[in-house]
């Protein structure tokens, strides 16, 4: 019996971790390239959740019946619009502050976070919203007796597979394309890259768009899986994804995914075996402890301060 619970928590943790990893990518890429924590990133994820529900409702109104097609269309539309939000946030709140002191972009990010939360609260209402479940069913594994099994829903499979595909696509983009090479160059040395003809503003904008796109994938998947959301979900998801990014080593893409999975598993086991009420406290404590004892994370390189 314990074995089954363990396996079930592992499955849940892996699913949760994939979502954290997808959001963490946005934090880690932005931090790697301009060295700032994009506090508004969690709200981008929240926006994606709302867009998912709106597009899904719109498609239903138009009479679209097939769930796979609907999911694909919603995914494409949500990624596009969320990426536009990511781009606009960078353009409005961070680009004018590129050469100001260290504190200014952080405060501006908090401001954007407040704006996005209240904007959604005012336009969509403060209550919890939901979508009809369009992905039912699941598979039972290791079913030795009728009440001892590990249940994996189709939505969970979709989350892990989509997260994996998105990460591979992102990895391919960064490793193989010209823009990806420019990203890596800017990450290593922004001034040198711009001297060599890389349009750093465009690279930074691309990074925000990519980060927002990945957060959008997470938003669509989570909404399809859990079905309910409100205007405040970005806050907790944001801190946890940031924890994942730090855990994996901020600035490192594989680290973000690894950190996400580690955090997801840890949180899942904690809430399964210790206490559900304190699972957020556990995640935040983990963040504080990692930052104190191993700020470079699992796969990161220790940062050297330069003049």
């Amino acid at each position: 019996m314990t074995g089954h619970i363990l396996a079930q928590q592992a499955v849940n943790g892996l699913v949760l971790g994939s979502v954290y990893g997808l959001i963490a990518v946005g934090y880690t890429m932005v931090y790697g390239i301009i060295g700032m924590i994009n506090f508004a990133h969690g709200e981008i994820y929240m926006i994606a959740a709302y867009l998912t529900a709106i597009f899904l409702a719109g498609l239903t109104l138009l009479g679209l019946q097939s769930p796979p097609l609907a999911i694909l269309l919603v995914l494409a539309a949500t990624i596009t619009f969320t990426a536009l939000y990511g781009w606009s946030v960078e353009r409005i709140a961070y680009r004018p502050l590129r050469h100001s002191n260290r504190l200014a972009p952080l405060i501006s990010a908090i401001g954007i976070s407040l704006i996005l939360q209240n904007y959604v609260r005012l336009s969509q209402g403060a209550r919890t919203q939901g979508i009809p479940s369009i992905l039912d069913g699941g598979v039972h594994l290791f079913a030795s007796t009728p009440d001892a099994f590990v249940r994996i829903t189709h939505a969970q499979i979709l989350i892990v597979v989509t997260a994996l595909i998105s990460m591979l696509l992102l990895h391919f983009f960064i490793a193989r394309t010209a823009m990806g090479r420019a990203c890596r160059a800017v990450q290593q040395d922004r001034v040198m890259a711009s001297l060599l003809g890389v349009n750093t503003d465009r690279v930074i904008a691309t990074v925000f768009v990519l980060g927002a796109g990945m957060a959008a994938v997470a938003g669509v998947l989570v909404t399809l899986n859990y079905g309910s959301f409100d205007f405040f979900i970005g806050f907790v998801a944001g801190i946890k994804a940031f924890t994942a990014a730090v855990l994996g080593g901020i600035g490192s893409l594989p680290g973000a995914m690894l950190g996400g999975v580690v955090l997801g598993l840890a949180e899942s086991f904690f809430s399964g075996f210790v206490n559900t009420d304190y699972k957020d406290v556990f995640a935040f404590s983990l963040l504080v402890l990692v930052l104190i004892f191993k700020p470079s994370g699992l796969l990161g390189v220790p940062e050297v301060e330069k003049v």
Partner: protein
């Protein structure tokens, strides 16, 4: 790019941004259309962009900024403010007096956060945690140990300061931005523990906090047998507003003390070290300033102020529960500090008072408070990062006769 083209592009992007989220609203599993919203908002964005392009290069008149009002008018302004604050409670009713007390609590909190963010340049997003420590320390020590306000006030301040030091010590050694996120996490941990530890803190139901006494005299109409109450001792007729006036004036003196304290600190080597560290940490370390202890002192003093504010909050509300200590509260205090101009004491006080009274006066705008705070924070950072009232550095005055 020409202004027209840029404006049109802004309009297009704004329309695309606003269309799905404001053009329709979710209603169950269906949608309610509001077609006019996205067009209206996109039009506003275009107008804003056009104005921005047109107004570029325009500067505010220098005359106002150049006038040395801070030294010339300092004493008269200070005198007027103090006298007005002391007369104020006798003229208004209970409601506005309570708003004013809340404003003073925010002044105190903002002064504390201003030391951390404005002077030392450390972004603390969990300031509300120390506020909660002060408030709960008073409420819980009263509940379990029956301690009075006058013991809980310094006790809560010390505990909050200690928490700040314990949290800050390991974190302040590393990269500055991490501090923001660690404090954010810490603030949430404190709130969640207060919310979930039901046996000890009574969870979301909160804890009662009694009203402080006036040198052992309480403010009840009918005191306990054998004790005398405030109005009996001074042979006044009983009025429920006495205790509110008392709390306001007490808090006012504490705020004045705090202002004086901060003012003196800024001129001390410690205060100068804070500001120097904010400007260039590496240079300071090269000059032999111990950056950890200097930052830690700022963090600890800020946290202590938060604790004092918390104890007063508990006393004035008579009750504390975890919903008063959310991240929104931290963001509110931070917005006060940012709008007042980081590092400027006068600006921060003005911002705290205005931002507390304004939402009360304009009840209809209460809905838009968060949105406006957010916009104001972004705009301040872009155009006026040092605040609306620029704080002037205390300079060494060269003697006139020397040359």
């Amino acid at each position: 790019m020409s202004a027209t083209k840029e404006t049109l592009l802004t309009g297009l992007v704004a329309f695309l941004l606003f269309a799905p989220l404001t053009g329709v609203s979710l209603d169950g599993y269906g949608l309610n259309p509001h077609w006019q919203n996205p067009f209206l908002l996109a039009g506003m964005a275009m107008l804003g962009r056009l104005l921005l392009v047109r107004l570029q290069g325009l500067r505010l008149p220098v005359g106002l900024a150049g006038y040395d009002w801070q030294t010339r008018l300092q004493r008269p302004i200070l005198a007027v403010v103090v006298i007005a604050a002391l007369i104020f409670p006798w003229l208004v009713g209970k409601y506005w007096l309570n708003v004013a007390t809340l404003a003073l609590i925010y002044v105190l909190l903002a002064l504390g956060l201003n030391i951390v963010v404005g002077l030392a340049g450390l972004l603390d997003l969990g300031f509300v945690a120390f506020y909660a420590v002060g408030a709960y320390f008073y409420a819980l020590t009263f509940k379990y140990l029956d301690l009075s306000f006058w013991i809980a006030l310094p006790g809560g301040a010390l505990l909050a300061g200690l928490c700040g030091m314990l949290l800050g010590f390991p974190v302040l050694r590393m990269h500055g931005d991490y501090l923001a996120i660690v404090t954010l996490g810490f603030g949430e941990i404190v709130r969640l523990v207060l919310n979930n530890w039901i046996d000890f803190t009574n969870g979301p139901n909160g804890v009662r906090a009694p009203f402080p006494s006036f040198f052992g005299l309480d403010f009840s109409r009918h005191p306990m047998p054998g004790k005398s109450s405030f109005h009996q001792f001074f042979h006044l007729s009983y009025s429920p507003i006495h205790k509110d006036i008392f709390l306001f004036i007490l808090l006012f003196f504490i705020v004045c003390g705090m202002v004086y304290f901060v003012r003196r600190l800024r001129r001390m080597p410690l205060g100068r070290a804070w500001e120097a560290l904010r400007e260039d940490e590496i240079a300071c370390r090269a000059l032999g300033i111990n950056h950890v202890t200097v930052k830690l002192s700022a963090f600890g003093i800020g946290a202590m102020t938060g604790g004092i504010g918390g104890a007063f909050f508990a006393a004035s509300q008579g009750f504390v529960n975890p919903t008063s200590f959310t991240f929104m509260e931290s963001a509110h205090i931070l917005a006060i500090v940012v709008l007042g101009g980081m590092g400027s004491t006068a600006g921060v006080i003005a911002a705290a008072v205005i931002l507390t009274f304004l939402p009360e006066a304009l009840r209809d705008f209460a809905e838009y408070r968060g949105l406006m705070f957010g916009c104001a924070m972004v705009m301040m950072m872009i155009w006026r990062p040092r605040g609306l009232l620029r704080s002037r550095r205390a300079l060494f005055q060269r003697e006139q006769s020397a040359c």
